[in-house]
């Protein structure tokens, strides 16, 4: 028989039994009994129809399945009846499972999963460090690279630089991010090209025909994934260049947005010691450890310093560091991720505590129901089975919601750039953790759901039935475990709240940081002039013209250009000599900004001393420089820097300091200001290694800056219709994205803390309301004996305060210990900031009190007559 025929069979059985019963009745009547007696006699002879039906169902072989369906139906009915309990449980479960899974998935992709390069575990980045200035990531110069590449610790050492190019032909001009690598660039990573090949050694030679390797993204977007692209010629900055290969999707080094790679030629005899533009990447030999490599690097550094004594001149504190690629990529995210993971762990704990206390309270409620069922002959197994099914139904609903939540979050994370995860292959929902969270929350539900049921079915059901669901407050034993759970919950919530409070405090401090410039009403956009059409001499002229044209637009207050905007990625820096001092006494390194005269006005940077640069100077050979306060303080402490002279090297002219401008947060709100030099973009520019063709246009407007973009673009078109603009953004947006590393954890932790607070409130309320409901009888007796409403209120509130105080103290203690691990994420907030600790404690106390007050008020309003009558 098939199970869907059960209903029909059941009707059939019903009819059969009825006809038999009727027949029996007729026979009894024929024997001379009255109608009524006959009916009784027939039923006696027949037996219990329900039992017979059940036994017959068993004979059909679907009994287990039927019972299961029946239990599921019953479970749904029970949950509907207790919709509050069901909803809270389901929400708790979904938050617990969903949030845990999402965050762990992120952690997994950031910290645990290997990078998608064959050599990934052995790939390292190499940096110069300079302890006196706290500089940890100084790029290398060509002579340095030529020394380091001879290292015995690595299989390959490659140098690369990054920049931009304009791709023309085959559609609109496109701005592309390029990376130039030395011969071993691809060998370091070990990734083979998807199509074609990577560079050959002779293509690295200067003067060889230009070649390029495309990224998967550019190949898809611009060349429609055509396999014929290999061998074809493309136009980069107006120059013809042959495509030799395409890299696979997983290869996104050195950054996510890289579009193509070109060979970088470095002369073995290069002597440009002062030009630090090369990033180094290398793969360790299989037998070499990180520390061995580090000490070898130090030896090589010594050799370099001896080779160029004039340049390094006893620079104490110069060092070299080797760090694994993964650490380089996620290193600054690690504390964030770990704190978030701890936060999520607490969330899961709170969720489980909530589920546990809800189940315990519900178990008490069901005592009578279970006793009744036991009295009617239900076996213990049958009752446990029922509770099990109910738990499973609840779990499936909550878990299903949690899964949806996790899927949505992972999708969102892959779309935002809060966490730079695309380079690591994106966040994938981690099924192991999903399973872990599911099992943990399910077992909690089962443990705390089954235990009371087991106890209830074991105990003498007589007592339970007699008690009639009205426990005196005396049966405290059952209350104790619940109040312990509530206190735990309060403690956990306080830990999370403290974490969130500290992050919010840091965020507030960051937002309050004086930037040194005014980000309001400024629009910025980047453009790169193609080398083929713009000589360096024409470059300066072009930018002059562009600024003049934009200045003519209504609503424009100031226009300027700069090579690197503050807070984005200030990377160009250079060392300099100070007049009158031997160049080997100090390593002077400063960010180099190439600007136009109006830059300070456009950015709203204050002049502290001297004067700004002017348009006339731009037409003359470079002779003046502006420095920031930090540089002035470091180089000329206590003396007036105006009129002092510096130069970038022996081959460079001396430049007079004509002005000192206010420090700005050039590397982000939470980073100390670094020394900075401002050079004018003159017709005969100074530093050939800075890409002068790529500049950012900075326009200060009198109204909403976004509205100016199209007008500015129009003016640009008049000058050069083939020039793309990119990275259009207001200065405000740049500032705001520069603090996303604090904002993201602050937001997430706050979200956790709010959820935890909500869960704790629900937990406290649930347990408290339950205690009140259970004590109605006792309250009635107390009132009948003369207790006042106020006394009852105090009695219950007192209990709440006790829980809150005990849980709060435990939480505070735990928080004080745990938040120390957050130190690196905080900004101008001590981990034990008393104001924040006080604030979060106050918030928690208020919430706990509120959660207690509502049931306590209900207790005080109990009508003693109704309560006692209700027996």
């Amino acid at each position: 028989m098939k199970w869907w025929q059960i209903k029909k069979r059941d009707e059939d059985l019903e009819r059969e039994l009825r006809s038999d019963l009727e027949l029996e009745e007729e026979e009894q009547r024929e024997n001379g009994l009255s109608t009524e007696d006959a009916s009784y006699a027939a039923r006696r002879a027949f037996g219990n129809p329900t039992l017979i039906k059940e036994q017959t169902h068993e004979a059909w072989g679907w009994a287990i399945f039927e019972r299961f369906l029946q239990d599921v139906r019953y479970a749904f009915r029970q949950l509907r009846k207790n919709s509050g309990f069901a909803a809270i449980c389901a929400i708790t479960l979904s938050l617990g499972i969903g949030a845990t899974t999402t965050i762990f998935s992120v952690v997994d992709s950031l910290l645990l999963r290997p990078l998608p390069y064959p050599n990934a575990p052995r790939v390292v980045r190499i940096w110069n460090t300079f302890a006196p200035r706290g500089m940890t990531e100084i790029p290398f110069s060509e002579p340095e690279f030529n020394e380091y590449r001879q290292s015995q610790s690595f299989t390959h050492v490659a140098g690369f630089s990054v920049g931009t190019l304009t791709l023309t032909g085959n559609g609109d001009p496109l701005h592309v991010a390029a990376s130039w690598g030395t011969p071993d660039f691809f060998s370091v990573m070990g990734t083979a090209p998807l199509l074609g090949r990577v560079f050959t050694a002779d293509e690295q030679q200067e003067g060889h025909a230009q070649v390029a390797v495309l990224s998967h993204r550019l190949w898809q977007g611009r060349f429609a994934s055509s396999r014929e692209v290999v061998g074809k010629s493309i136009l980069l900055n107006g120059q013809s260049c042959t495509v030799v290969g395409v890299m696979p999707q997983t290869f996104n080094f050195p950054s996510n947005d890289v579009d193509l790679w070109q060979p970088l030629s470095i002369a073995p005899a290069s002597d440009k010691v002062g030009n630090h533009y090369l990033n180094l990447v290398a793969d360790l030999k299989p037998q070499t450890t990180l520390n061995q490599a580090r000490s070898e690097m130090a030896t090589i550094l010594d050799r370099i310093m001896q080779k160029y004594p004039k340049y390094y001149g006893g620079a104490a504190g110069l060092g070299v560091n080797v760090i694994p690629l993964r650490e380089q990529m996620v290193g600054n995210l690690r504390p964030t991720v770990l704190v978030l993971m701890a936060g999520v762990g607490f969330m899961l704990l709170i969720a489980c505590t909530n589920v546990a206390s809800l189940h315990l309270a519900r178990g008490e409620d069901r005592k009578q129901e279970i006793a009744t069922r036991t009295a009617l002959g239900a076996t213990r197994w049958r009752i446990l089975y029922q509770v099990l099914i109910e738990n499973l139904v609840l779990f499936l609903v909550g878990g299903g919601l949690g899964l949806l939540l996790a899927l949505a979050c992972v999708k969102w994370l892959n779309l935002t750039d809060y966490l730079d995860v695309a380079q690591l292959g994106g966040v994938r929902l981690d099924m192991r953790v999903l399973a872990f969270a599911a099992v943990v929350s399910l077992s909690t539900g089962l443990l705390f759901g089954l235990a009371p049921a087991l106890k209830a079915s074991q105990s003498n059901f007589n007592d339970a039935l007699k008690a009639g669901g009205r426990d005196a407050m005396g049966s405290r034993r059952s209350t104790r475990s619940r109040s312990l759970l509530v206190m735990t919950e309060i403690a956990f919530s306080l830990v999370l709240l403290t974490g969130a409070g500290l992050m919010i405090g840091s965020l507030r401090n960051l937002l309050g940081v004086s930037l040194g410039f005014n980000p309001k009403n400024v629009i910025t956009m980047r453009l790169s002039l193609p080398e083929a059409r713009y000589s360096i001499a024409r470059t300066a002229a072009f930018y002059h013209q562009l600024q003049d044209r934009v200045r003519g637009l209504p609503g424009v207050e100031a226009v300027a250009i700069v090579n690197q905007l503050p807070m984005t990625d200030v990377t160009a820096n250079a060392s300099f000599d100070v007049e009158g001092r031997p160049s080997n006494t100090d390593i002077n390194l400063a960010d180099t900004q190439i600007i136009s005269p109006e830059y300070f006005r456009a950015m709203g940077i204050l002049l502290m001393r001297g004067r700004f640069l002017n348009d006339e100077e731009a037409k003359l050979p470079p002779a003046s420089v502006i420095v920031n306060q930090t540089l002035a303080r470091k180089v000329w402490p206590g003396t007036d820097p105006i009129g002092k002279r510096i130069r970038l090297g022996p081959d460079y002219p001396w430049l007079s300091v004509v002005g000192v401008v206010a420090d700005i947060k050039n590397h982000g709100s939470n980073v100390a200001t670094k020394p900075e030099m401002y050079f004018l973009l003159t017709d005969q520019p100074l530093m050939m290694w800075v890409d002068l063709r790529s500049m950012t246009l900075v326009v200060r407007t009198s109204s909403e800056p976004e509205q100016m973009v199209n007008a500015i673009r129009g003016r640009l078109k008049q000058l050069d219709p083939e020039l793309p603009i990119y990275k259009v953004s207001t200065l405000k947006e740049l500032v705001s994205s520069s603090i996303s590393q604090t904002r993201f954890p602050a937001l997430t932790l706050s979200l956790f803390a709010c959820t935890a607070l909500l869960l704790a409130a629900i937990g406290v309320y649930g347990v408290f309301a339950y205690t009140v409901a259970q004590s109605r009888h006792e309250i009635g007796v107390r009132m009948a004996l003369g207790a006042q409403q106020g006394q009852i209120l105090r009695l219950f509130l007192g209990q709440g305060v006790k829980w809150g105080a005990l849980g709060g103290c435990a939480g505070l203690l735990a928080a004080l210990i745990l938040v120390r691990f957050m130190r690196s994420m905080l900004f101008q907030v001590g981990p034990h900031d008393p104001k924040i600790l006080l604030a979060v404690t106050a918030v928690l106390s208020a919430v706990v009190l509120m959660a207690c007050l509502i049931p306590a008020l209900r207790a005080a309003k109990v009508d003693p007559i109704a309560a006692l009558k209700n027996e």
Binding site: M1, D12, L13, R15, E16, L17, S19, D20, L23, E24, A45, F46, G47, N48, P49, L51, I52, Q55, T56, E58, A59, W60, G61
Partner: protein, 118 residues
């Protein structure tokens, strides 16, 4: 009506199936008839509630030993669910009968060994 003092026992586990099959050997019958027949032929010795027949009947049907069909009763104007023995059921009856025989002989040999010798 049962006579006072007469001994009555419940059915031995597993024998009900055999009794039903044997009853149906005479021809199709509905539940009530089967119950009455077993009670009457055992001289009211085998005591059972009619209702307990049905789980057994449905089990036999599930196994394919009997088939069931709603049919008009010959003596009155009403439909009953008539059970009849299938070919498979007939074979099963033979099997159960022989098993029962072996069983009762075995029991007898244990209980009355002397009778066996004589």
């Amino acid at each position: 009506m049962t006579k006072q003092g007469q001994q009555r026992v419940g059915l031995l586990q597993g024998t009900l199936d055999m009794l039903i099959l044997r009853t149906l050997f005479y021809g199709p019958a509905h539940g009530h008839q089967i119950g009455k027949h077993i009670q009457r032929t055992s001289n009211e010795f085998l005591q059972m509630q009619h209702g307990s027949l049905y789980p057994a009947l449905h089990r036999l049907e599930e196994r394919g030993w009997v088939s069931a069909k709603w049919e008009m009763a010959p003596d009155r104007n009403r439909e009953f669910k008539y059970y009849r023995l299938t070919e498979k059921g007939k074979k099963q009856l033979v099997v159960e009968e022989s098993q029962w025989k072996q069983m009762s002989e075995a029991v007898a040999r244990v209980m009355w060994p002397a009778a066996e010798e004589s």
